[in-house]
């Protein structure tokens, strides 16, 4: 073994290192690195611990109740209660996010990155977006409560699906703007100049060149922001996602939009405060929530790796 040149070089490097270090191992360095690894493993270990606890307790309920748990409505008895209404409600909320936040957010990002000059108004908008992204989610709940639930009650129907959906859409908007702007910024200037060079207007440049190249980044960002909305609870509690139970009243479009609703994380919160008999149900609902989120995350990571552009 020691006869190959590479192995000889390695022993050579090793002996030089030992000569410099004086033949001793620097135990402080080893301790320090070990400490860092320990901290990282602790962080990852917490995630593993959490997922283990959730799946060990939640999967049996799902295995036993199966489809019934996913379709049953809310109920006061743990054995009968399911997350059917919650899943439907969460999907409706996502629908609001997709049709409102995505076009508005991407449009705002296009304006900020492609159209805006560095003026006081642009800086104002930029500051506004950054600050909105840092506002605690519960404050968006207060905004929704004051505006959609109280001030616009005639239009939204008060504590209704529309109020919840609009609040969610506003909550996600700054995140969509920031991630889309990042994706647009990553498109090289040369791409735009090539299009301008053949006489395209700015909108034509954006539509035919910038947006297609930025699309993977924009999709990844928007999907992740949707995942964020899917797990969000606090604002929904303030704008009246139902806690307890309610009858399905999805008879007409307007009735649905102005009707009562609930969402998956809201149900988790509600059941978490109930007597211990609901314990297994909470874990089962969390399993559903986490599986959806992991799938969405995996999709985003796949898109990023599959279509990532290196310039």
């Amino acid at each position: 073994m020691a006869s190959t040149p590479r192995a000889q070089a390695r022993t050579g490097a090793e002996s030089v290192r030992r000569a410099i270090e004086g033949g001793r191992t620097d135990w402080w360095s080893v301790t320090f690195q070990g400490f860092l690894v320990l901290l990282l493993l602790l962080t990852l270990g917490v995630l593993a611990w959490l997922l283990t606890v959730v799946f060990v307790n939640g999967v049996p309920v799902l295995a036993e109740r199966g489809f019934d748990f996913l379709t049953s409505p809310l109920a006061s008895r743990a054995e009968a209660a399911g997350v059917g209404q919650a899943i439907v409600g969460s999907l409706y909320l996502m629908f609001f996010v997709v049709i409102l936040s995505f076009p508005l957010g991407i449009g705002a990002a296009v304006y900020l990155e492609e159209y805006a000059h560095d003026s006081w108004s642009t800086r104002l908008i930029n500051t506004g977006v950054r600050n909105l992204a840092g506002v605690p989610s519960i404050v968006y709940g207060l905004l929704g409560l004051a505006i959609f639930v109280v001030a616009l009650a005639d239009f939204t129907g008060g504590r209704s699906l529309t109020s919840g959906g609009l609040t969610m859409a506003i909550l996600v908007l700054p995140i969509v703007i920031i991630t889309s702007a990042e994706a647009l910024r990553a498109v090289p200037e040369a791409i735009r100049e090539a299009a301008f060079g053949v006489g395209a207007t700015r909108w034509e440049v954006v539509r035919s060149h910038v947006l297609p190249y930025a699309a993977p980044g924009i999709f990844t960002g928007t999907i992740l922001s949707m995942a964020r909305a899917f797990g969000e609870t606090a604002p929904l509690i303030l704008v009246g996602a139902v806690i307890g139970g309610f009858n399905v009243e999805y008879d007409s479009v307007v009735g649905t939009l102005q009707g009562r609703y609930t969402a998956l994380p809201t149900v988790v919160y509600d059941w978490a405060r109930k007597p211990a008999s609901f314990g297994p149900n909470v874990y089962a609902a969390i399993v559903v929530l986490i599986v959806v989120l992991l799938l969405v995350n995996a999709l985003a990571i796949y898109l990023r790796n599959r279509f990532e552009q290196r310039w």
């Binding site: 360095s29 962080t43 959490l50 606890v53 449009g107 404050v139 505006i147 606090a234 509690i237 988790v268």
Partner: protein, 315 residues
């Protein structure tokens, strides 16, 4: 777009280059649409401030001010001790930072300075997954698992599992990925030349990481910690589930005791009953607390933003 030089054919004017009026109109319309979308964020900012300030003013002008320094937060009995919920908020956030700062910074230093590309590529998505775990889930985990296994041995007989320590640890777990990712970005942005200069002088990796890279990235690291604190203060669900006091709370900064934060106080008001909009000041008090929370987090975010920008200017 720039004017042509003298060698070009003379008859071509800017008007010829502009294209048809229809195309220009379309261009103008599209631009206006995008501008409207961008301006929406300003409108939302103003709406937040307006809706908070309006009801908060109702509250301040109608409440007996001495009530604000009573030692208890019981809105249904018209006891609005703001110091109780502020103290609870900072107790929970401080415990969260005690957990998240070492974990997050340790992970950041390791990923930025020690880890191979393969480890980075594996660990960073896992941290993103941890960041994506909904806070309700962490709240239940804090109540059901952290409270009996970690907090109970330290605080024997912590009341029925509800305590601020468990909530704080849950909040800490929640903000660890945020701190790790912002701090790691800052350290990763430190130019290689600084590290190489340090190695050239014979410094070890540990010395280089701690004495060269860490101080060079200190702005970003401070920003990471401030952002973490801001997120911790605004965190709602973990505290609502794990810290206990659903209805009201007495003044307490004891981690082993149940407590109320500003955020949890708001959800408690909203879920307690539908009579939040009753005759009492409970409804306006919601917005007063929200206003306080908004001011706290906005101030922290602005400071963090300044620190982040300092890193960006330097490198």
């Amino acid at each position: 777009m720039t004017a042509s030089s003298s060698a070009q054919p003379p008859r071509l004017s800017i008007g010829d280059l502009r294209g048809s009026p229809a195309r220009r109109r379309k261009e103008f319309g599209v631009r206006l649409l995008f501008l409207a979308a961008a301006s929406l964020s300003i409108v939302i900012s103003f709406l937040i401030i307006l809706s908070l300030a309006g009801e908060a003013w109702t509250f301040i002008s109608q409440v007996d001010l001495p009530l604000l320094i009573e030692r208890g937060w019981f809105p249904r009995r018209d006891l609005y001790s703001v110091q109780t919920i502020v103290a609870g908020t900072f107790t929970v956030a401080a415990i969260g930072m005690l957990v998240a700062a070492p974990l997050g910074l340790g992970a950041a230093i390791y990923l930025s300075e020690y880890a191979s590309t393969r480890v980075r590529r594996t660990v960073k998505p896992i941290l993103e997954i941890l960041a994506g775990i909904p806070s309700v889930v962490l709240g239940y985990f804090a109540l059901q698992v952290i409270s009996p296994t970690i907090v109970d041995p330290i605080c024997p007989g912590a009341t029925e599992g509800f305590n601020m320590a468990a909530a704080g640890i849950g909040v800490g777990i929640l903000i660890t990925p945020l701190i790790a990712s912002v701090a790691e970005d800052a350290m990763y942005a430190v130019p290689r030349s600084l590290r190489e200069a340090s190695y050239g002088l014979g410094a070890r990796k540990r010395t280089t990481s701690l004495k060269i890279v860490f101080p060079a990235a200190i702005s970003g690291i401070v920003a990471a910690l401030i952002l973490g604190l801001s997120r911790g203060i605004g965190e709602t669900m973990v505290v609502s589930i794990a810290a206990g006091a659903t209805g009201g709370s007495l003044f307490s900064v004891n981690p082993c005791a149940p407590g109320q934060t500003m955020t949890a106080a708001m959800t408690a008001l909203a879920t307690g009953s539908d009579q939040v909009r009753g005759a009492t000041l409970a409804f306006p008090s919601l917005f007063f607390v929200g206003m306080l929370l908004f001011i706290f987090t906005l101030a922290l975010n602005l400071v963090a933003d300044r620190f982040v920008r300092r890193v960006r200017i330097r490198y």
